[in-house]
Amino acid sequence: MPLDTLWSQRIRENKMILRQPKPRVFLSLTPLIDVVFILLIFFMLVSQFSSWRNIELLSQAGAAGGTGDEAVIALQLNNSGSFELDGEMIGSLGEVIVQLSIANRTGPLFLSAESTVQMQRILDVIETLSGAGMVDVTLVEPTVRATR
């Protein structure tokens, strides 16, 4: 074989070698998608979008006590939904507020409840009383109420 033919063949081979495509590495996206889905499910389960707040409720033990100048208002929630204002039975909270405003009484209010009254009811009553201007509300334990 003539030398120039041999050289041209070598050069062609080299070119062919150079032209061989490099093996390309492709990353699979499937594990990424799996991890992202797991993260999504985790955050969906543990996230809370509720608007929580903290409030303070005064109980008899923590109450500083009245000034002595104002008479304490004793209000009791009965199981039936009625109220007792200083021992007098009253049908609704609206009537209680009217009676207190007529008597111009805004002094410290001791709130107690009968055995089956639910906590949400107490909170609703405190909220209504607070709206009517009676902010000095103290919760009274049943034992304290019995000895009063």
């Binding site: 992202v36 929580w52 707040r53 903290n54 089956t116 909220e127």
Partner: protein, 134 residues
């Protein structure tokens, strides 16, 4: 001369890219907008109120949960009623603060008694966690 065009494989999964984008956006939205918190007991119905004022926010208070039957638990651990005073004493001596997470249907008197016990144990300004009605 017949030329065979080499089939070009597109290895980028174009069909999956919008899905990945949306899922990543959802993850980011949940991470940013949500608050990660310990789950509430099953069937727990929180107290709700329209009250707007927010008591002073504390860092890591002891959270006492009271369920609808008045049963007390703290950080997932059930506490016997007879041991509540002891628990309040420990929290008070650790100078931790206390908050109550109360089921709306819980008997009010049991909460009032617990509040009184906590304050007698020296835990001042006990807070109750409510869900805003807004």
């Amino acid at each position: 001369m017949m030329r065979i065009r080499k089939k070009t494989h597109s290895h980028a999964p174009d069909g999956k890219l919008p899905l990945i984008n949306i899922v990543l956006l959802l993850v980011l939205a949940f991470m940013m907008a949500g608050t990660v918190a310990a789950p509430l007991p099953s069937g727990f119905d929180p107290l709700r109120s329209e009250v707007r004022e927010q008591a002073e926010v504390r860092s890591k208070p002891a959270t006492l949960t009271v369920d609808r039957l008045g049963r007390v638990s703290i950080e997932g651990r059930d506490i016997a009623t007879s041991n509540v005073d002891l628990l309040f004493g420990e929290i008070s001596s650790d100078e931790r603060e206390l908050e109550f997470r109360v089921d709306a249907r819980a008997p009010a008197n049991s909460i009032i008694v617990l509040l009184g016990s906590a304050e007698r144990a020296g835990l001042k300004d006990v807070q109750i966690v409510i869900l805003s009605r807004e």
